[in-house]
Structures are given as structure tokens and as C-alpha cells.
Amino acid sequence: MAAPITLHLVFGGGAELLFDGVKDHHVTLPSQSEPWNMKQLLVWIGQNLLKERPELFVQGDNVRPGILVLINDADWELMGQLDYQLQDKDNVVFISTLHGG
């Protein structure tokens, strides 16, 4: 059993509009049998944080193309992307690079 973890999530570049315009979110993920990874975090965001138009944020089981992800200030492409295992107090940033957000 993995203990619950707290994360700091940031949405920018217009992505925040899908979250009631709120950029910063401090969230706690409940404990579950295996450690949390990015793929599960996206599902959790879709169920718990997204206020509207989920297809503008998640597509399939990945983030919508054109949305950048940084984990602890580093490009998530360096961190294994969806398979990255989240740690307590991780900082995850989502920035939309699409025109108009």
C-alpha cells in the first residue's frame, strides 16, 4: 500500500480556463495499492479537477497534443512521461502552447 501523496499542480497558457481559471492547485492523492504514476494522475485530474470540456485537456490516456508537461521544472520527456512515478511533494506543470489556449 502506497501512502497518500500531496502534489502541487499548475495550469498555464490558457489551460487554466478549464479549471475555473485557477492556476495553482494543491491536491492530495489518496493511498492506493501501487504508487501513483502520471497516467493515473491524468485520470484523477479528469475526474476531480476538470470543470469543462475534458477533450481539450486529455485525449485518450495522454494529455492533449500541444500541452507541455514539466515535472519538478524539467521536461517530462526526460522523466518517462506517463510512466513517471509520482513522489510526495512533486510539482507538476501543464502549459498549453495552443493558440488561444
Binding site: P65, G66, L78, Q81, V93, T97
Partner: protein, 517 residues
């Protein structure tokens, strides 16, 4: 895209999972913070160096901006134009030999009126922009889009400059600059540009926007049926306002923040929208269509990802401002759909954007029809060379014919009573008329082009702008400066037709024509 197989053979199937401690490819010491493109991981420091260098290299390579020249930066508040602003600040702060030596000013156009924002919301946005610009110390202009309604028709005329050799001019300008600024630390008050710099250190946020003008603009956009055409029209009006502001304030260059991703999208969207002939000017570094004001795109080598990462890592402030495209689905407009296509492709083929963009660089536009004075005929709206006056074998004519053929069977309410042969005549210039009256078919079928009095707007537009205007239920609400310039051009071509007929009469068989009349 022919290189994809070579470059990514194998990579596609199994994305390389890199360890968290991958080192920077450049300095080989620090831990990498981002992947610029496949196989190129950089640390924060090297990334910054790379980013800053690229900006100066772009300006240096093109040698288009002269020392001491006044350059107007169009900043929308978005990440790309804000990164451009930060690079100009960075460049002006550099030590002597690396220093950028032009005089920047900033312009912001508020489009809140088209997004249904209240006056309070707009004031709030403009106040944010105001504080963003104020810290730069550059003169700046915050302009509501409504100002486009006050433009003079002259903004639609490209001012012809007698430019001989730009490279030579650049050298002369640099020499001049060096002579008048031996230490090059003094404020460059060169003779290159004697236009007096009106420093608006505390530019006024327009408190009063004429509400009737807001309504006029909203009325205009409500007549536009598709988002594709709305975006295109907004882009056109915004450009007119930028160019006019630059002229009024004595700037000779306009700097636009369009990045590589944006331009790749624009290039493909242009093709879809029938702007094939304008691909070159729309996406090149240097856009000379306005004549005296040259638009340049110094961010065109940066991808959207690169810019967003830079702004995030180096705290470059930007203001998120909603646009017509905000929160719309992928299929809402051609521009939006193309963007979604390109960024999706980019996920699996990371060189998509640069491939499209490099293809764009190789495109060149053929010469177009010129008017009597030898200047090319330009589109009334986008001010690119007209692509609709080409010969009978052009793709444009082929499109027209196929459009007419597919309309033959259907009983179009406008065409129902027309004879087949006049139908074929319609939508092509009514050249055998004597100018006073248009052929009936033309007048009926093209009635949607008409404003208050009979005017042929279509003949003044390029193919793509024609499509945009066709998506409007009425052109009456187009700003006055466009309508009056259209009338003027119509009158001129009418006179030209009359003269040419007269000249023709002179050296051809006069008697037969006299007999006819």
C-alpha cells in the same frame, strides 16, 4: 517529410526512456532540463544561451533592421510575443559589440469587443498589459480594436519606396551610426531616422471607447458566418491597425511574434484557405507588402514548446488573453483544425513542424499582374499581390469553371432564371462592358458582394479574401476606410477601361466601331 524514415527509424516504435539524470548534450556537465528535439537534451543554462543567441543570429543574418531605426513590437500578451519582447530587452542590455541598436516601441491591440467582454473586463486586461509594458521603459501604445473604424483609406495603399540594394543600405546605415556614436553608448539620435521619437512613457489606457463603435464592430462580425472567416477578417483588420499605428508614430519596422509552430500551421491553413499564392510573404522572415513599413518575424525559428519552456524557466511574464479560438473544438475552424493536425503529428514525428516550415522557405511567388504605373495589383484586404488576374489556364480559372459546372444542375435561387451562357460569364470580370453598367448575370449572382451602391468588391480581392467575404451575409458593415478605398479603386479601373478603349480605337479600325455606335 522524406527524412522521417531515416531520422526516426526504430525510434518511433520504442520511445527511449531516458534516465532522470541525463546530462546536457552541450556542456556535458549539468543535468538536462528539457529535450529540444530528439537527441538534443539541454540544461537550463545552455538552453538560455541557445535561445538568446538564436534571436540575435536571426536579426544579424537578415540585416534588415538598421541601427537607430524605430521598430514597433506587436505584443499580444501571449507567450510568443512576450518572449520576443524579453529578447529585445535582453539585446539592448548587452555589452557593446553584442548590443541591439534599434529603438523599440510596443503596441497592443485589445480585441475584447469581439469576445463579448464587458468594459470592466477589458479595462482590467488593458491595465495588466499596461503594467507589463511600463517596466520595459519603452514607449508603448494600447489600442482598442474599435480604432480600426477611424483608419484612413490610405492605410490600404502600399507606400512604394525606392529601395535599391538593402544590403548596401544596411552598411551605409551602420557606418553612419558608428560615426555619429563613436562610443555607441550615447542614445543613438542618428540621421538614419530623423522622425522625432515621441516617448509615451505613460501611455494612456484608453478610458473611453465609443460604444457605438463597439456595436459597429460586433455587428460586422455577426455578419460573418464561419469562425474561419472571422479569424481571417480579424487578422486583416488587426494588421491594418498595426501598420497604421507604425506609420502614425514614425516606426519603419513592425516586429511580429509568430513562432515556427504557428507559421507551420499558417502555411498549411493558407493552402486550405486558397492562399497558396501568398504563402511566401505570409510566412517569410521579411514581409514587404506594406512598402514603407516592413514586417519582420524574428521568432520564426522557435517552436511553441521552446518558447513556453523558456518563459516558464526564466519567468518571462505574459498575460493570457482569450481569443476567438479559445475553448473551441478542433473542428471549429480551418485554422484550429490545422493546428490540431500539426501538433498531433508533431507528437510522433518531432520534425513535422520544422519540415513544413523549411518547405515554406523554399516557396517563391511568381510575378503578378502590374497596373499602369508598374506596381503590382494588390488585394484590397490582405494587400498581397492579386492572384486572380492570371491567365485562362490558371488553377483559379479552373476552380471557377468547376464551381460553375457544379452549380448548373442545382436551382440556385439567384441563378434560376439565367440562361446557361450568362451563367458561365458570371463571376468573371465583365470585360466587354463599357464600364457604366455590369452584365446582368454578374450583378445578380454577385449581389452578395454588394454594398449600398453597386460596387464590384470581388475584382479587388485575392482568391482567399474573396472566400472570406463570401462568408459574410452583408458587406455593408465593413469599415468605412475599406469601402471608400474599394469605391476609389473601382472608379479608377473604370476610367482605365475607358481610356484603353479609346486608345484601342486610335490604332485599330475606327470606322467599324463608329458604325456600331
Amino acid at each position: 517529410m522524406c527524412q522521417v524514415d531515416e531520422d526516426y527509424n526504430g525510434l518511433l516504435e520504442s520511445p527511449v526512456v531516458v534516465s532522470e539524470t541525463q546530462k546536457c548534450n552541450k556542456c556535458k556537465e549539468t543535468t538536462a532540463a528539457l529535450i529540444l528535439k530528439p537527441g538534443e537534451a539541454l540544461c537550463r543554462g545552455c538552453f538560455k544561451e541557445h535561445f538568446v543567441h538564436k534571436f540575435r543570429a536571426m536579426l544579424g543574418k537578415n540585416r534588415i533592421i538598421f541601427p537607430g531605426e524605430k521598430v514597433l513590437l506587436a505584443v499580444s500578451g501571449g507567450s510568443s510575443s512576450c518572449a520576443m519582447l524579453s529578447q529585445v530587452q535582453e539585446g539592448l542590455g548587452q555589452n557593446a559589440h553584442k548590443k541591439l541598436r534599434f529603438k523599440p516601441g510596443i503596441v497592443y491591440i485589445d480585441e475584447g469587443c469581439l469576445l463579448g467582454q464587458s468594459m470592466e473586463e477589458r479595462q482590467k486586461t488593458m491595465a495588466q498589459i499596461h503594467s507589463l509594458f511600463k517596466v520595459t521603459g519603452f514607449p508603448y501604445h494600447i489600442i482598442p480594436l474599435e480604432m480600426v473604424l477611424n483608419l484612413p483609406s490610405s492605410v490600404l495603399e502600399s507606400v512604394h519606396l525606392a529601395t535599391d540594394d538593402p544590403a548596401g543600405n544596411y552598411k551605409v546605415a551602420v557606418d553612419h551610426f558608428m560615426q555619429s556614436n563613436p562610443g555607441h553608448s550615447v542614445d543613438p539620435n542618428t540621421q538614419v531616422h530623423q522622425a522625432e521619437l515621441r516617448v509615451l512613457t505613460d501611455a494612456t489606457v484608453p478610458q473611453l471607447i465609443d460604444e457605438s463603435q463597439t456595436q459597429t464592430l460586433q455587428e460586422l462580425f455577426s455578419r460573418v458566418k464561419t469562425l474561419t472567416a472571422k479569424e481571417d477578417l480579424l487578422h486583416t483588420l488587426r494588421r491594418h491597425l498595426l501598420v497604421s499605428t507604425a506609420r502614425a508614430e514614425g516606426y519603419s519596422k513592425l516586429m511580429l511574434g509568430e513562432n515556427c509552430t504557428r507559421l507551420a500551421v499558417k502555411l498549411l491553413a493558407n493552402i486550405a484557405m486558397g492562399r497558396g499564392a501568398q504563402l511566401g510573404v505570409d510566412t517569410a522572415f521579411c514581409d514587404p507588402r506594406y512598402g514603407d513599413i516592413v514586417a519582420v518575424k524574428p521568432m520564426r525559428d522557435y517552436t511553441a514548446k521552446e518558447i513556453s519552456l523558456y518563459n516558464y524557466m526564466w519567468n518571462v511574464p505574459s498575460v493570457f488573453i482569450p481569443s476567438l479560438e479559445t475553448k473551441t473544438a478542433d473542428k471549429s475552424s480551418i485554422q484550429r483544425l490545422t493546428e490540431s493536425f500539426v501538433v498531433k503529428l508533431q507528437v510522433d514525428f518531432p520534425s513535422t513542424v520544422s519540415t513544413i516550415y523549411r518547405t515554406g522557405e523554399k516557396l517563391q511567388t511568381a510575378n503578378f499582374t502590374e497596373d499602369i504605373e508598374g506596381a503590382p495589383l494588390k488585394c484590397l484586404l490582405c494587400m498581397c499581390a492579386l492572384d486572380t488576374t492570371l491567365g485562362e489556364t490558371s488553377a483559379f480559372q479552373a476552380t471557377l469553371i468547376s464551381e460553375q459546372l457544379s452549380n448548373v444542375g442545382t436551382t440556385h435561387p439567384m441563378q434560376g432564371h439565367l440562361r446557361p451562357d450568362t451563367q458561365t460569364k458570371c463571376c468573371s470580370p465583365c470585360d466587354q462592358q463599357d464600364g457604366e453598367e455590369q452584365c446582368e448575370a454578374h450583378a445578380v449572382c454577385c449581389s452578395h458582394f454588394k454594398g449600398g451602391d453597386s460596387m464590384n468588391l470581388e475584382s479587388l480581392l485575392c482568391y482567399s479574401c474573396q472566400q472570406t467575404v463570401k462568408d459574410m451575409t452583408s458587406v455593408e458593415f465593413l469599415p468605412q476606410y475599406i469601402m471608400s478605398e474599394a469605391k476609389r479603386r473601382n472608379r479608377r479601373s473604370q476610367i482605365r477601361r475607358e481610356i484603353s478603349e479609346f486608345l484601342l480605337n486610335e490604332d485599330q479600325d475606327c470606322t467599324s466601331i463608329k458604325a456600331e455606335s
